[in-house]
Amino acid sequence: MSPGDGQKGRVMTDRLSTVFAALADPTRRDIVARLATEDATVGELAAPYDVSVQAVSKHLKVLEEAGLVTRRRDAQRRPVHLETEVFDLMTKWIERYRREAEQRHRRLDTVLAALNAHDETTRTQPENGTAS
């Protein structure tokens, strides 16, 4: 960690841990995947499962506490909505790490191309023709 990350970083890390914990359950991951396409009511979400509406409500409560979903107050339906910005937080961190790894791997590409060129001068490779 870089210095000065301090408090804000810790809060974000705690939040991310809550998110990961909420997603540790396969039923909850399935609910999240379904909400990624459209909002749905508790009844609609419960329909495909062999569990009660109450059990699905419990799962939704965990997801709600992690900030992953919200329930609108309007009308009777109270559809459940996926808060995609929480995933942004997760995916941004991962994406930045991935990009750094990709940069490292591109440097490795360059080094390997040089190794290839060097190896070709000392060894015959009959089917070669793709080395850049």
Binding site: I94, E95, R107, L115, A131
Partner: protein, 160 residues
């Protein structure tokens, strides 16, 4: 088999694991050499803005390693052990000396794809999800990717 031209990464939702995959136009033997020959390793381990100096390096089963990154006049040390060095697999530990209590177990596998291509599978196991997330954060760089492409992929393959 599809080519994985860009690094893919997955953070396991319930275990403190990061997995990366990437294809290279090189043989297993060349990829092994790029990871075990210190003079070659030094050239690509990076980051771009950083110069790497090898302190000690003994790439054998039971050996150890240490290198220094010098960035803006600041030195950052990294060290670990080579637990196992085989033609298609390296198992090693990795510690950033700025966080000396943290250790990651790295398993690198070189999968021969034929035609002089090899797939690198790199798995990092740390001691907690919190540690893993801190690790991800420490790898942060400038530039933020907008969009939900990654989320779409994670959702479609069940990682989320």
């Amino acid at each position: 088999m599809n080519t994985i031209a860009e690094t893919t990464i997955e953070a396991h939702p319930t275990l403190p694991i990061i997995q990366m995959t990437r294809d290279f136009a090189a043989t297993q033997e060349q990829l092994l050499r790029a990871h075990t020959d210190p003079e070659i390793y030094r050239q690509w381990v990076g980051p771009n803005s950083v110069s790497t100096t090898i302190d000690y390096w003994d790439a054998r089963t039971g050996g150890s390693w240490r290198f220094l990154n010098i960035h803006d006049g600041q030195e950052h040390g990294f060290h670990g052990s080579f637990h196992e060095v085989n033609p298609n697999r390296i198992v090693q530990t990795f510690t950033w000396e700025g966080m000396p209590e943290g250790v990651s177990l790295e398993t690198l596998t070189f999968q021969d794809l034929g035609d002089g291509r090899t797939r690198l599978h790199a798995q990092s196991l740390v001691d907690s999800i919190e540690g893993r997330d801190a690790w991800l954060r420490s790898g942060m760089e400038v530039g933020v990717n907008e969009g939900y492409a990654k989320l779409d992929r994670m959702l479609s393959d069940g990682a989320v």
